[in-house]
Structures are given as C-alpha cells and as structure tokens.
Symmetry: C2
Subunit: 419 residues, 2 copies
C-alpha cells in the first residue's frame, strides 16, 4: 500500500483497486465479453460465466453456416468435436490428448464413470464422498451404489477421507473446490491415499476447470468430470466433460451403451461392441452448439494462461477478504473460505446469520449479483477473466452500505423476510 | 393428371410437380427456413432438419440477451424450460401437459426409461425389440438388460412381437418409424398386445415426431422417447424428449439421480428424494440453447398442424414412388418402403445392389443430398415443411441421370468404388 492511498488516516481502497487493475496483465480480457448492465456488478461467474464475444460470433457461424448451409454434410466436422474440444479442455487440467471428452451433463458423466469404476473393483462395495460435496454428486453416487448393491458412505468432511478409505472402498469421489466454501482440496494427497488403499479416484472439477491449475496426468488421477458453464464461460447448460486416464480406458465399461460409443458406429451392427479407446464413454449425439461455445471458452483461458488466471483469482480473493475484514466483519460477517489463497478456489464465501435476506437485498438494492447458499453463506464469485479489483471494491462497498442502512431501519426492506 | 401434363405421349412430371406445389397449403413454410444452396436439393431432413429463420432469431436472443445480459438471473425462466418445451412437443404426440420433458439425448432418455420400466416389472427379465430397430436403441436396451441381470430378445421383425410377448417380458421397446424402410408400425395394435401380456411399451418416436400424427395418451402408451433434430428442425445434437404416462410417474424410478430430479432442488438435502412428478426423470442441467431451438421447431409444426404435415408428407412420398416406378425401376431400383402411404413415415427408401456408390455419386455429381444405409438402401427424406413436389421431381430426375450416365461409362465415376 502506498502512502498516497491513505486518506485522512483511512486507506483509500478505491485507489488501491485502481492500481491493482492497472497492473493486471489480464485486464484486457474483460473487454472480450458482452458488457453487463453498467449498474450491476456481476460476482456470480461461479454459477454462470459471462458471454464471450467470441462465442457470439462462433455460435452464429455454427448455426447459420454449418447448420444452415452445410446441413448434414457438417457432421463430418461435428462428429469428432467431443474429442477435439475435449483435448482443449484437457490442456487446462493437465491431461494429454485422448483422455477428455466433452459430452452430456456433469450428472450423466459422473454416473457413467462412477458406475464403470465400481464395476471395475469387484469385492469393494463402497463409494466414498463427503457430506459437503455438491448435491448432484452425492445423489448420483447414491444411485450408482444402490444399483450395484453397494453403498455410499458420506463422510462429515473431506478431512476424514484418509482415515476412512480402506479395502472396502472402490471409488473415492470428491470435488476439488467446495461449492460452499471455495476450499481447495489437496488433490495430490487425497489421490495418493486413495490409491494406497486400492481405490480409484473420481474428481469433480466443476468449480476448478478454467480457474485453478490442475495436473490430472501428473498426479495419476483416474477419473474426473466437470461442467463448462462456470469459468469456461460456455453458457447455460453447456455440455460437461469427463476424463479417463488412458491406461484405464480399455478396462472400464460405462453403463449407457449408446451408438456414439460403438466401435464401428455406422456399420449398425447387431450388438454393442465398445470402441477400444475414450470414445466408449460417449452415448448419444453430441450437443454441437454447446461444443462450439466450450471451445471458445477453453481457448480464451489457454490464451490467458491457467497459471496467470489462477494467480489473478487468488489476488482478487485476497483483496476481497481484506475488504471484508475492514468493512463487513463489524457488521457480523465471518469468513467461511480458507484465508490462505493457495487453499482456495475462485469464490469467497462469507457467513452471516441473516445471509439469505442480505443476499436478496444486496442483489435487489445493491445491484451486486452474488448468491446465497444454505444455511448462512453468501458466495462472491471471482472470474479472473472478467472480474476487476474495482468490481470487488465497489461490490463490498455496496454490501456494506446495504447492510448498514438496512440495520438502521425498523423493518429493513428485504432483510427480514426469509425468502 | 390433366391432359395438358401429357406431352407427346409421356407425362410431364415437372408440370405435375408445379401443380401439386401450387395446391400445397404448406408451401409458404419453406420460406421460413434459411435457404439452402440453390444448386442442391436437400432430401435429408430425416437426418438433420433445416434451420428455421425463427431459430436464428431465437438463438440470438437467448445467447445475446438472456445469457449475455440477463446472466444468472435468467435461470428463473430457464429452469422450467424442460417442462414448458416438453408440453409443446407433447401437443404434437397427443400427450396432455406434464408428461413430456425435453432433456438429454435419446440414448440417455431411453436408458433412463427402460431401466425404470424393467425395475418396475420384477420377475420379468426380458426386454423385447426387433433387429431392425435403430442401433442406439438395441445397444442401450442391451446395456439395461445386462445391468439388471435380464436379457434383450432381438426379434427378426416387428411382426414377430405378438407371438413373442409373454409373461417373461417386462418391456417392449420399438421404433414407430423404421429408420431403414420408413415403415410405420401399428402403435395401437402393438401397444395393446404388449399390455395384454402385462408388459410396458416404450416407443422411440425419433422418425415420427413432427411429421406423423401420434396419439400417446389415447393409445394408452406407457413410455416414449425421441430426438428433435429431424422433423422438429432443432439443430445438430439438440436435446431429446421423453414421455411418461402420468399414472406411471410416481411409481417409476429412473437410475440417474441428478439434482434436477430432486424434490426440493435448492435445499441441497443430504439424500436423494425424487420429485413426485415428471421432474424425477431429469438428471443434470438442461441445454438452454437447444431447448430454445426445440420450442421454435415445435411451434412451427403446431402452426402448420400435424395432420396437414402428415398429409403432405404422404403425398410427397406417393409422388416419389410414382417417379421411382417410372424412372428408376428400369435402372434396377426396388422399393424398400411400404407402398401404402398410411403405412409409411416421412422417408422413402429405395433398394439397389450398388446403393452405396450410387448414393455417393448422387450427392457429389447430382447435388441431391440423400443418404445410404447398409447394406443396399438409399433414403429420400421428405420434410413436409421444407420439401416441395418440385424438389422430389428434380431429385429423381437427377438420380436417374446420374445412374444412367454412370452405367454407360466403362469406369463410371463414383459408381464402382465401394466407399
């Protein structure tokens, strides 16, 4: 902090933010997205990333040229897109070619991989996860366990994995970044401890891909899934991805035997004969429009460089926590995320007993788009390609003002109704 | 046929086609699609339907406004789209509200419904289909049977169903329109005979929806699936649909327990508790862009009227068969589709020993987009909203000329290499 930033004894955080933005090597990326409403500060890229201008152009091309003009002939290009775009995503998560597919939803991909992994570990009936894992992960794992006559063990926290993984466990399935707190799990340690017990690991990278540096190959990860509509900015309901380590591919059989997984797809043979490689993890026709948007999003992060993206995200988080300490702690907010940047993903969660009405008021009156998560969390999503330090400063100022003004009123608007 | 259409003793089919187009009440719909290359006649809408101008506009709106500007706030609109668009599709297949969802791929939906149906018929281990069913149907049914310790019985033809369905059969799963021959199955008869034996029926409507009049509720059908990229013109890899008869919904449990099927999705509860209604057949996040295109396609067919669409498709098929008899039978072509229009869907298949190289030459030299299907079929797709009688006449003329000229040459280009 420079001396000039201290005004009348108080720090001038707005000036600080301006300096941080001036020094930000990724600042120019924000201009490559469709501008949001200038009244609004968008801190929800951890739910739905913003729209890249490149995606607007690419989607028009795919729709109007490839579909509109090229028609069925364009399938010669489209048919390999799950693999081609998968390889792009793979470069962001440390996966060599031929191990990542973009297809289906995260839920369906998790189902495919967890089912395949459980079947590959006969005599081991247990799937292991933690109670803080994202709901669809827990529910899908529950369905996989039940269908196979196994059982899902829900640990209280991810810290209990080491003690719980044993020769009964077929698969350890965890999220790399907690959707609640933004805590970053120790992928190296948890993968090793799972492997030492003979279990396979299946990581959900939804809150990590495109924002956190991940090394799937180097850490010997078996399986992974994740969505593309957060930090890859691929749009609402864009197709998800899956990773299967090359050495495991031929030995794993996923349960949904669609024709895109068939060895010779257009021979239309009588029986299912899965492709020997990654393609066997496909099922039905790929979402061509969604794939185009994933490619644009992945290319932008590759251009920015995942290490620089992660570094900026950590600085944004540090700055947010500093401001929260200064402005929001006195108003009853606590930090729910790890304080150390190396232990966080790209969102910071604050805890408050009135989190739900506060989040509502912050969105409606403060024009800061955050989100509420049960029971008492407000999440601030920091998307390194689109969020500035100025955004963080203005957002926390707005939260402070909304809460402070609301607390002065007898019946503060939006602060009491538990919506 | 009018006297004026007979020129020098031969019928003037071009004039005939012109008259049929003049009298076509749906002729104006073709102008509401992006124009194809004027050199090309597109008879492959049974693989990928053409691009509606309305879809171009709607996709731009969803991308640029709803996603680009509305961002995460648009989820309040998007979240019910699988049901809302499902109801639109439902109107095309005789389904009252609350029974059709647009989600996932046909393969994944078939997996969900066939698994649920098999589990609902304990003591009946058999899934029944025919060897002519579409590959993904056969393969997915095979996987469902195998996972549950049951078995898939592949009948030689759909005509064998009545004799084969017995107290061992849990589910009879058939395609309403054969992808090979365009033959239309007798949904009423086959549903009744299956029910009489205590089996559930699961119809694949991929080659029917938007082109053939279907009455799911009236015929007491249990389950159905289908794609939307053929006669609903919703684009490459657009989301598929599923139908579950209302009375069955609460009693069927599909295997992929994603969070979109959870009763109270955002309570993020510890265990899966499926929604009591149709929503339990959802899994992951819906493909929002794809849903928008499905809505446009379904609305166009609703506007045209499914009965008028079917009527025009039958006339197109009759006209094609008349021309094939006149021009192509002498060149060795046979009719693989039913001759009676009431027994056909919307494509006509011709058989020829050299079908593969002929299809290739017709596409490359004749500029008529048809497709080849193993072992000896050429399919001519007739999309009532976009195909004219003039298209049919010009296409068959082109096929005739390509084959006739190819057969005169010593080594006819494209006609000998079995690519």
């Amino acid at each position: 902090m420079k001396r000039s930033d201290v005004v009348g004894g108080a720090v001038d955080w707005t000036a600080q933010a301006r300096e941080l933005d001036m020094a930000d090597p990724l600042a120019e990326f924000a201009e490559r997205f469709v501008a949001a409403d200038p009244d609004v500060i968008y801190l929800n890229g951890n739910s739905l990333g913003r729209l890249p201008l490149g995606a607007v152009a690419r989607l028009r091309e795919v729709v109007e040229q490839e579909w509109g003009r090229g028609l069925v002939g364009s399938w010669s290009r489209w048919i390999t897109q799950p693999q081609m775009v998968g390889d792009l995503v793979g470069r962001l998560v440390g996966a060599a070619q031929g191990q990542v597919l973009v297809c289906d939803s995260t839920s369906v991909n998790l189902y495919k991989l967890a089912s395949a992994a459980l079947a590959a570990r006969p005599g081991r009936p247990v799937l292991l996860t933690d109670a803080g894992n994202f709901p669809t992960d827990r529910y899908v794992l529950e369905s996989v366990a039940r269908a196979a006559g196994g059982r899902l063990v829900l640990l209280d926290t991810i810290d209990d994995v080491s003690a719980a993984v044993d020769e009964q466990v077929a698969v350890v399935s965890l999220s790399l970044v907690s959707y609640l707190t933004g805590a970053l799990a120790d992928m190296r340690e948890l993968t090793q401890v799972s492997h030492a017990a003979g279990a396979l690991v299946l990581w959900d990278l939804s809150h990590a891909v495109g924002a956190v540096s991940v090394e799937l190959d180097a850490l010997d990860v078996d399986l992974a899934v994740g969505c593309t509509y957060k930090y890859l900015n691929a749009g609402p309901g864009s197709p998800a991805f899956l990773y299967v380590r090359r050495a495991l591919q031929a030995g794993l059989q996923q349960p949904i035997w669609g024709w895109f997984g068939q060895r010779d797809q257009f021979a239309m043979g009588a029986h299912y004969d899965p492709a020997p490689d990654l393609r066997r993890f496909l099922a039905g026709s790929p979402d061509v429009l969604g794939l185009a948007a994933v490619a644009v999003g992945a290319e932008m992060v590759l251009e920015a460089g995942i290490d620089r993206v992660q570094e900026k995200g950590r600085r944004l988080g540090d700055f947010l926590i500093t401001l929260a300490d200064a402005w929001l702690a006195p108003l009853g907010f606590g930090l729910a995320s790890p304080r150390a940047a190396t232990q966080r993903g790209m969102h910071v969660s604050l805890r408050h007993p009135s989190a739900r009405p506060i989040a509502q008021a912050v969105i409606e009156r403060g024009r800061v788009i955050v989100d509420f998560r049960m029971p008492d969390l407000i999440r601030f999503g920091l998307s390194p390609l689109t969020t500035s330090f100025g955004d963080v400063c203005a957002a926390l100022e707005s939260v402070r003002d909304v809460v402070a003004s609301g607390m002065d009123e007898a019946t503060p608007v939006g602060l009491t109704a538990d919506r």
